[in-house]
């Protein structure tokens, strides 16, 4: 409104202002449903967590941070999230480019794979990976058939075991934003690059990559933030000795019966995730792309 008033010429201010005021007042109530939803689903639980975390006799935050198991899980989670992010963005870019330029059957196959994997429950996919990774599971069976390996594989319930499954589960979230950017890419620019003498490397590096870089970063931030709090896949494939933060938090609540420490850890996870997102947003302007 202030901008409108400043811009409008004096003669024109009177009547439009009343109209504009009316329309603003009319629409303001539309903000309430999302605000109420936000209070109920986000602010409420956070307040409850703060209450829970401060209910114990000692300072639950100090206790959480001085727990070696928790600190180790923080590093494990950060490393997992970082590696999964790098891998999904790289694979996802290749995947999206293949959908955009590949022959029709490649397009259909890749698009189908992407959607089916999105529509299938994370639980089902994680169990699928379990069956693959079990010491004498599908992977071992295949390698044995090929005569490449005779003793069982030690992959299941190791730190390494979480990675392929996490990458597979997170891939669609990296592919979709990158695909959107690749599809809206102006093909005439490729012709321009070719006509002006650029080879495939220069064309990709100087023309294609800068156009889809923003989308790669948004996809990466999305995957990173989601990976930080991911529960089922790391827990089932990493096992009890390689828990990520969410697994430790669950153990505090359900096994150790220390709800206050669990709540403090949850708040640290949420706070850390928000902080990382804000820094990423400041650096890469992610929200501009989403907004």
């Amino acid at each position: 409104m202030a901008v409108n008033e400043a811009v409008a010429t004096p003669a024109a201010t009177r009547r439009p202002r009343r109209l504009a005021d009316g329309s603003v007042a009319e629409k303001r109530w539309l903000l309430w449903p999302p605000l109420i939803f936000f209070l109920l689903t986000v602010a409420g639980p956070v307040v409850a967590l703060i209450h829970q975390a401060t209910s114990g006799e000692e300072n639950a935050f100090v206790e959480a941070l001085s727990s070696e198991v928790f600190v180790a899980s923080v590093w494990r989670t950060l490393l997992l999230a970082a590696v999964v992010t790098a891998a999904t963005v790289l694979v996802g870019t290749a995947y999206a480019l293949a959908i955009a330029v590949g022959p029709v059957w490649v397009k259909a196959l890749l698009m189908g794979g992407l959607l089916i994997s999105l529509w299938t429950s994370v639980m089902v996919r994680t169990i699928g990976w379990m069956l693959l990774e079990l010491p004498s599971g599908a992977l071992f069976w295949m390698l044995e058939k090929l005569g490449l390996r005779s003793e069982p594989i030690e992959l299941y319930q190791t730190t390494l075991g979480m990675y392929p499954a996490m990458i597979a589960v997170m891939l669609p979230f990296a592919v979709l934003p990158i695909l959107a950017a690749v599809i809206s890419f102006d093909r005439e620019q490729l012709n321009a690059a070719t006509v002006f003498g650029a080879g495939p490397l220069l064309t990709f590096g100087a023309v294609v990559l800068p156009t889809i870089r923003q989308a790669m970063i948004s996809g990466g931030v999305l995957v990173f933030v989601m990976s930080l709090g991911f529960y089922v896949t790391p827990l089932l494939l990493g096992g009890p000795s390689n828990m990520t933060m969410s697994g430790i938090i669950n153990a505090q609540l359900n096994t150790a019966n220390r709800a206050d420490v669990g709540a403090a850890m949850s708040l640290l996870l949420v706070g850390g995730t928000v902080a990382i997102y804000l820094v990423a947003d400041r650096l890469f302007k992610v929200s501009e792309r989403w907004g």
Partner: protein, 353 residues
Amino acid sequence: MSIALSIQDVHVTLGHFEVLKGVSLDAEPGTFVTLLGASGSGKTTLLNVIAGLQQLDRGHVLFDGQNVERRPPRKRKVGVVFQSYALFPHMSVGDNVAFPLRAARRPSVERRKVVQEMLELVDLAGMVNRAPASLSGGQRQRVALARALASDPGILLLDEPMAALDKQLRERMQVEIKRIQQQVGITTVAVTHDQAEAMTMSDQVAIMHEGTLVQVDSPENLYRRPVNEYVASFLGEANLFPADRGGPLALDAAGQATGTAVIRPEDLVVLAPDQLGDHWRVPGVVRLLSFQGSRFRLEVVTATGRSVVCSLPPHTDASALVPGSEVILGCGAPDRVHVIHRSDAGDALEVAA
């Protein structure tokens, strides 16, 4: 460097549709040739064939006598201004212009020098560091032109260069492009469906129709001496009358016609009763008279239902020309009447094909 372009019997099929049905065209070094035709006539395809972006089924493309149809686009040294300009949005104006030199791995000193020269040529000096998104449509087109000329190509290709500009800017840029083309002296092939644009810029206009070249000639010859009825009515307004060797015939004598007379609207006059004599004439009824500033446009319908358009000088006394009134039109300049003889048209088509 400016090359002679020769296109020989080029055939292109896209899917099941034969887009180019044997096109041949020659352009001397330094000439400006425009491919003019309705959409779907194959003109953009022909441009892509020259650039190497479109494979051809049959025929030859020669640059200075050398076959280039198997040469990839990046080795052809062509400069192209694309219809959407296809500027690289994340690069500055200077980097866009320098791109062809960067692809050719030229040293950065040379790049900077060329960018400076090119931007001065297109009147955009001082815009080196601007982003393409911050420029107006006309400025973007100039940047595209500067980029197309940066690596000193042998031939410049313009794909509907004015399509994205508004009408006023279009007329300015036509003159501007022509100036730059003459200053650089580069062989240029442009594609357009706008006949005024083709007439303004070109030395030679090639009329395309359904995958063939119908006539290649100077703008004036195309207007004065079209080879067939299609060219006559495509380029400007034309009144077509039955004719024989001697000139246009009366409308009721159409049976004896051996050809078609093309009479331009500005060559028709309204005859007063005392001027009739035994000249050729067309009686009719006024349908519409409109004042268009520099001319009056008079539409007359003959007894056989044929519509005749007549362009009258602005000082004409138009009071008698109300719709519904009867008029008699005659030819004010019999020497400017062009007759397309049936055999001529046939020959011309064969030559073009």
